[in-house]
Symmetry: C2
DNA sequence: CCGCAACTGGACTATTTCGTCCAGTCTATT
DNA sequence: AATAGACTGGACGAAATAGTCCAGTTGCGG
């Protein structure tokens, strides 16, 4: 999944890998809060406690760093979602998943939005390879949701007629739209409402 | 709705107003395509054919210009939606509304996303008064959707039990999420799917 | 028709920010 | 433990960009 993002060929020592990781996590944190455009490389240098020459040693430039941040954030989100959704096979489980996301977003009153969604809005029209990475990440995330929906079908809680892929897309749309509205309003209520509507629809498609 | 955005007190002549409007539309077009951060004031000056001193004559700075762009774009979107939704009172009418938005977005293969949504993602965490304007615009837009849903209730096409406000929020969430996914994938399919799910849910709530 | 205020235009400055360079330090291997 | 090569640090340069200033023009009220 993760594309080769360090200068090709050269192998990293353990120390180098650690430094590189420190740069990425610092950049990811800053970018999540301030956005790509408002995050300067000097900010990243200061936050990571790494010299600028190292930043350019590990990354070809700001674009490459941003792409690495996308990969990193993507892995984090996918990993979190994989853990959260792995065992879910009921509507109630999906509701608990929703609750966790809403509560987590509540902590910052909806600010900053979805880690992946904000990145997408930020770079999609500016960096095509970054956009494609994000596209694949969204697809993977939707795949996890589709897996849950298939399990609902297997247990008979969801009609076998419906397209789990389309429902997963709809659910992801509701989630991302909810994040965006919550970000604009600084209140998670619309996010909860938006996801609830998607879940209610899924529930209404139960067998019989 | 539109806040006073030109230096208070001074009255604009017709020529001044025209120049001011030209700046705003040029900036709005650039910002829609490139985003706020990637749009420079020199770009705006070049695109509008207006001198920089005039830009600063009409706007206190970049932030004020961006806020004016938000007001302008907001009015445009709300006006468009008001016209599109005014007479809608059936599910089929909502479907035609959906078709028009999807087709329009198809022209650019989903790029740039929703004029209001992109702005929100761009500035919400950086300018609180801009965020609040956007919040109000979303609320107004949702109000138009809620109006349609109330008409559905009046004609008996929608159960009088359901909350039209919540459904409108869910529909707006699906719309915005759909825009974002389409932007990431460069394909309007997920946008269509996302809205369709919301509409299917609304349709499933018909009386009886 | 005249004068004053508002509008127009573009050259200029200060600051920010991306990216480079070089000198010194650490580490793995022989 | 010596050396080669990889890693670290910060000072430096160049470009872009927000914002300022002043000289010239236009148009409206008296």
């Amino acid at each position: 999944m993760t594309t080769a993002d360090s200068p090709e060929g050269r192998r990293l020592t353990a120390r180098g890998a650690k430094t590189r990781a420190r740069i990425i996590t610092a950049a990811a944190d800053l970018i999540y809060v301030r956005g790509v455009g408002a995050t300067t490389l000097d900010d990243v240098v200061a936050a990571s406690g790494v010299s600028k020459s190292q930043l350019y040693h590990h990354f070809a430039g700001k674009g490459a760093l941003v792409r690495a941040v996308i990969d990193h954030t993507g892995e984090r989100v996918i990993e979190r979602e994989r853990a959260a959704l792995r065992q879910v096979s009921t509507i109630a489980g999906l509701r608990r998943w929703r609750d966790a996301l809403v509560e987590s977003n509540e902590l910052q009153h909806g600010a900053y939005g979805c880690a992946l969604g904000s990145l997408a809005a930020d770079v999609a029209d500016h960096d095509d390879v970054a956009r494609q990475s994000l596209s694949e990440l969204f697809t993977e995330w939707q795949g996890l949701l589709a897996g849950v929906l298939r399990r609902l079908q297997d247990t008979g809680a969801l009609s076998p007629e419906v397209s789990t892929d389309q429902l997963a897309t709809g659910l992801m749309g509701a989630l991302q739209g909810g994040y965006l509205l919550a970000q604009a309003v600084h209140d998670v209520t619309p996010m909860a409402t938006s996801i609830d509507m998607a879940l209610a629809h899924i529930e209404s498609l139960s067998t019989g």
